[in-house]
C-alpha cells in the first residue's frame, strides 16, 4: 500500500502518503487550550521533531495520538484511513508506540515480563520465555542490546529507555513517539539513541521526537514542527532552517544563548564535605565518600545522570538525611546530622528538587509560604503571635522584587504557575543573605523567561559572596552557570573540572563512570 517511489531522500518522501495525519486537533483543559487546531503529518522513514517550550502542548498532542486523552475536535488518519483512537489499545493496533518521558515500566519485573504485559498472542503459560527469544532478535536487528532476564530497576536509565523502545517495536509499531528522550541520557547515550533512530528510519518506521533542545533537532531530525502555546507555528525541513530562527519561532522573540558572567573570585570556604557517606531509601549505599569544597563567590555544578546520589547529597547537606560517615562543614561550622532548622539558621538556602512537595505548602497562601522558616522569629512573630502587618509588608516587597505574578498575597501558592512558584521559593530562601545556596534542578520544567530570571538570581547570589552548589541534569545549564563542575556517578565524584575548560565529551564519559584521568573505576 505504501508505495515508496524513487530513491527516498532525507526529509521523508514528498510523494508517499503520510503514515499519520492529525487534522485540526483541539483539546482544552480547564483554563487552557492545550492544542488549538493542530495539524501535523508524519511520513514513513522520517524523524520528525516536535519542538516547543514546556507547556506548548507537544506532549498533550502525542497523548491524544496514543489514546490517553480524547480530543475535543479534530481528526486522525493512519495510513490514509480515518481512525478513532479511544485508548492505548487502539493506538497500538494502529501501529503507534510511545515512550513517555517518565518511563511506564514495572520496575520489580524483568525486561521480558514488561514486554509481555498486555501482549496478544503469547502462550498462557510462560509468556516471558517466548518474549525473551523475540527480544534477542529485535535487539540485534536494531542494535538495542538488553538482557531480557534482568530486572528493570537494576538497569541504567539508558537501558530502561531501550526496554521502552523494544516494547513498542515488539508490538509492531510503525510510528514511534519519543517524549523528551534525551533528558535522562549522557551525551554518549544520546549519540547511540540517534543511531538507533537512524536504523529505524532505514526500516521504514517514522519517529516523532518531542524536544525543547535545538541542538538535537539539528542533529537528529529530518523535519521539524514548532509549537507555541498550543498552536503549530510552522513545519519545515531541518536542512532549510537554523537554530536562531527555530528559537525565535519557539519562544516568539529573539533569544540570547550566552549568559554574561563576571569573573569568579572565590573567597573563604562556604561548604566543605569530607568523605561523606549515606544510604538511599532502599538502604543501599548512595554516597560513597564524597569530598568537595564550595567557596564563597563561586558556583560548583554537580553533573550526572539522575539517581547517582545527587538527591541524597542535597538531603544530607540540608539535614534531611542522616550521614553514615564523613563530615559536613558549612561556613566553618560543623553541621553533620544536625536538624534542618539548625542548618537553615546557619545560613543555608535550599531550593529543593520537588517544588510542590518540598518547596511550598501548596494549600497555604503566598505570604505564608514566603515567611516559612522565619515565621517563628522576629520580626514576623512576637511571642506566640504572628505579626500580620509585618508579614504582609515583607510579602509585598518580595513579590515585587522577585517579579512573582500572583493575584494577591492571599492566593494559595498551588494556584501559581511553576515559574512563579519557583520565584516564590527563591524569594524566601535568598532573602536572609545566605552564605550557601543549595539548588537542585532550579529551572527544571520552567519556560525560557523564568529560567533566565532564576539563573540571573543565582549568579547575583554568587556575586554577592554566597557559595552556590548547583545540581542539575541540564548540562548546558551547568556549563553556562558553574565555575567548577563535579561529575557524580554511583555515589562518587568522578572528577572536577574548571567550567571554562570543560569539554562535553569528557564530562559525558565521567557521567557514564569513567574517572577523569584514570581507567574505569569498577
Amino acid at each position: 500500500m505504501m508505495a515508496a517511489p524513487g530513491a527516498g531522500d532525507l526529509g521523508g518522501n514528498q510523494n508517499s502518503p503520510p503514515l499519520v495525519l492529525l487534522e485540526g486537533v483541539t483539546k482544552s483543559f480547564p483554563g487552557v487550550v492545550a492544542n488549538d487546531r493542530v495539524t501535523l503529518d508524519v511520513r514513513p522513514g522520517e524523524v520528525h521533531a516536535l519542538l516547543g517550550e514546556n507547556g506548548a502542548g507537544k506532549t498533550t498532542l502525542m497523548n491524544i495520538l496514543y489514546g490517553l486523552y480524547r480530543p475535543d475536535a479534530g481528526e486522525i488518519y493512519v495510513k490514509g484511513r480515518k481512525v478513532v483512537i479511544r485508548s492505548p489499545r487502539d493506538a497500538i493496533a494502529c501501529g503507534i508506540g510511545m515512550v513517555h518521558q517518565h518511563f511506564k515500566l514495572v520496575y520489580p519485573h524483568t525486561v521480558a515480563e514488561n514486554v509481555a504485559l498486555g501482549l496478544q498472542g503469547t502462550p498462557f503459560f510462560g509468556p516471558a520465555r517466548v518474549v525473551e527469544r523475540g527480544l534477542r532478535e529485535l535487539g540485534e536487528r536494531y542494535n538495542l542490546p538488553v538482557d531480557p532476564k534482568a530486572r528493570v530497576w537494576q538497569l541504567s536509565a539508558g537501558e530502561q529507555q531501550r526496554v521502552e523502545i523494544l516494547k513498542a517495536l515488539y508490538r509492531g509499531a510503525d510510528v514511534l513517539i519519543l517524549d523528551e528522550p534525551t533528558s535522562v541520557l549522557t551525551p554518549q547515550e544520546t549519540g547511540e539513541l540517534f543511531k538507533v533512530l537512524a536504523r529505524m528510519k532505514e526500516e521504514g518506521h517514522a519517529v516523532v521526537f518531542i524536544t525543547h533542545k535545538l541542538d538535537e533537532v539539528m542533529e537528529a531530525a529530518d523535519r521539524v514542527t514548532v509549537m507555541r502555546r498550543g498552536k503549530v507555528i510552522d513545519t519545515l525541513p531541518v536542512a532549510e532552517t537554523d537554530k536562531a530562527s527555530l528559537a525565535r519561532m519557539m519562544v516568539g522573540r529573539d533569544v540570547v544563548f550566552r549568559i554574561s558572567k563576571a569573573e569568579c573570585t572565590p573567597g573563604k570556604e562556604a561548604l566543605v564535605l569530607r568523605d561523606l557517606r549515606a544510604v538511599n531509601d532502599r538502604g543501599l549505599p548512595a554516597l560513597r565518600g564524597i569530598s568537595l569544597t564550595v567557596c564563597r563567590g563561586e558556583i560548583v555544578g554537580i553533573a550526572g545522570v539522575a539517581g547517582n546520589g545527587q538527591r541524597e547529597l542535597v538531603e544530607v547537606i540540608c539535614g534531611l538525611r542522616r550521614a553514615q560517615g564523613g563530615e559536613v562543614v558549612v561556613l566553618g561550622r560543623p553541621l553533620t546530622n544536625r536538624s534542618p532548622r539548625t542548618v537553615a539558621d546557619a545560613g543555608v538556602a535550599h531550593i529543593p528538587e520537588e517544588r510542590l512537595r518540598m518547596g511550598i505548602v501548596p494549600g497555604m497562601t503566598v505570604e505564608e509560604n514566603l515567611i516559612l522558616k522565619k515565621h517563628h522569629r522576629p520580626p514576623f512573630s512576637s511571642g506566640p503571635l504572628l505579626r500580620l502587618a509585618e508579614v504582609r509588608r515583607f510579602a509585598e516587597q518580595a513579590i515585587e522584587e522577585y517579579e512573582i505574578i500572583t493575584p494577591s498575597p492571599k492566593t494559595p501558592a498551588k494556584l501559581l504557575s511553576g515559574g512563579n512558584i519557583q520565584k516564590l521559593i527563591l524569594a524566601r530562601e535568598l532573602s536572609g543573605e545566605p552564605g550557601l545556596v543549595v539548588a537542585a534542578h532550579p529551572t527544571y520544567g520552567l519556560d525560557v523567561g523564568a529560567t533566565e530570571l532564576i539563573r540571573q538570581l543565582l549568579l547575583r547570589q554568587r556575586d554577592a559572596g554566597a557559595g552556590v552548589l548547583l545540581v542539575s541534569e541540564d548540562l548546558e545549564e551547568i556549563v553556562s552557570l558553574a565555575d567548577r563542575i563535579a561529575v557524580m556517578f554511583r555515589g562518587e565524584i568522578m572528577g572536577i573540572v574548571e567550567a571554562s575548560a570543560a569539554e562535553l565529551g569528557e564530562i559525558g564519559l565521567m557521567m557514564a563512570g569513567t574517572r577523569s584521568g584514570m581507567g574505569d573505576p569498577r
Binding site: V106, L117, L119
Partner: protein
C-alpha cells in the same frame, strides 16, 4: 500424653484451624496484588459463615452452603470494588465499613439460627493408604476437611498463575504500576474488580468452612477476629500464595494452642496469643527493612485514574 502425640495432634489441629486463614489470606493476596487493600475480610467471612450455615441447614447440603458462601463473599467484595475502584473511595475506610456491615448483617439475619447445631455438617475425610503412614498419617491425613486439601492445592495453583502465566504478569503489573498497564491497553479497572471479587469469594469460603465444618453451628461473631489475622498474614507471607500455607499453619497452631494450654495459663491471656503474635510478626517485618518490604505491590492502596489534568 507423650510429646509425639502432642506434636501430631497439634499439627493436625493447626491444619484445621489454619484452613480459614489460608483461604482468606490467598484471597487478600490476590486483591492486594492488584493494588486494592480490602480490610473487609472479617465482614466477608461473617457473611460467608452465616449464609453457608443457613443454606446447609435448610437444604441439608453443606457443599451447597459453601458454594453460596463463596457467592455471598464475592457479592460483598463487589461493593468494595465499586467503591474503591470505580468511585475511588479511600480503600481503608471502605474496607472497615465492609467489616462493620458484614458483622452487623450476619448478626441481624442470624438471630433465629443462633446456637442450633448443624444437622448435616461437611464430613471429615481420611485419605486411604496415606493415613496409615506412621506419624505423617495421623498428622496430615486423618479426619481432615476436603476444604483444607482444596486450599493447599489452590495455593499452588494461584502461585503458578501469579508467577508463570500471562494473567499473573497482568495482575502483578496492575498492582505495581497501573499507569504502565493502562498504557499497554490493559483494563486496569476490570483486573482490579476481578481480583477483589476473587478475594471475597475465597473469604466467603473461609467463613463457610467455620460454620459448616469446623464448628458446625452459627453464633454471632464466630469469625472472632480471624479476618484481621488474615490482613497481617498477607504482609507476613510477602504476598506469596505458597508462603501463605506456612503462615496459615503457624497461626492455626497458635489458635489451637490457645485452647490446649488452658489448664496452665489464664484463658484471657491465651486468647490474646494470635493477635500478640500478629503484632510481633509485623514488627519483625518492619525491622526486616527494605529487603522484605520490596514484596509490597508498588501501587497498594492507591486508586487509579488516568492522568487527565
Amino acid at each position: 500424653m507423650g510429646w509425639e502425640e502432642w506434636l501430631i495432634s497439634t499439627i493436625a489441629r493447626a491444619l484445621a484451624y489454619g484452613t480459614p486463614l489460608l483461604w482468606g489470606t490467598l484471597g487478600e493476596v490476590y486483591a492486594e496484588r492488584s493494588g486494592v487493600v480490602n480490610l473487609g475480610v472479617e465482614g466477608m467471612m461473617a457473611i460467608g459463615a452465616f449464609s453457608a450455615f443457613a443454606v446447609a441447614q435448610s437444604t441439608g447440603n453443606p457443599g451447597l452452603g459453601i458454594l453460596v458462601a463463596a457467592v455471598a463473599g464475592g457479592g460483598a467484595a463487589l461493593i468494595h470494588a465499586f467503591l474503591t475502584v470505580t468511585l475511588r473511595a479511600n480503600q481503608y475506610v471502605s474496607g472497615l465499613a465492609l467489616t462493620m456491615f458484614g458483622l452487623g448483617l450476619s448478626g441481624l439475619l442470624g438471630r433465629g439460627w443462633e446456637g442450633v447445631p448443624l444437622k448435616h455438617p461437611l464430613p471429615a475425610i481420611t485419605v486411604p493408604y496415606l493415613a496409615d503412614i506412621p506419624i505423617l498419617g495421623p498428622m496430615l491425613f486423618q479426619n481432615q476437611s476436603i476444604i483444607t486439601y482444596l486450599g493447599l492445592v489452590l495455593a499452588v495453583v494461584l502461585w503458578v498463575l501469579l508467577y508463570r502465566t500471562r494473567w499473573g504478569i497482568t495482575l502483578r503489573s496492575v498492582g505495581e504500576s497501573p499507569a504502565t498497564a493502562d498504557a499497554l491497553g490493559v483494563n486496569v479497572y476490570l483486573v482490579r474488580y476481578l481480583a477483589v471479587i476473587l478475594g471475597g469469594v475465597l473469604a466467603g469460603v473461609a467463613g463457610g468452612y467455620l460454620s459448616v465444618e469446623y464448628r458446625p453451628s452459627w453464633t454471632e461473631g464466630m469469625t472472632g477476629g480471624m479476618g484481621w489475622i488474615v490482613i497481617a498474614l498477607t504482609i507476613f507471607v510477602a504476598w506469596d500464595p505458597v508462603q501463605a500455607i506456612g503462615g496459615a499453619v503457624l497461626f492455626g497452631a497458635l489458635y489451637h494452642l490457645s485452647y490446649r494450654l488452658q489448664p496452665w495459663v489464664a484463658p484471657e491471656l491465651l486468647k490474646l496469643m494470635p493477635y500478640a503474635a500478629a503484632i510481633i510478626v509485623l514488627a519483625f517485618v518492619g525491622l526486616g527493612g527494605a529487603q522484605r518490604r520490596r514484596g509490597a505491590p508498588g501501587a497498594l492502596g492507591v486508586p487509579y485514574a488516568r492522568g487527565e489534568k
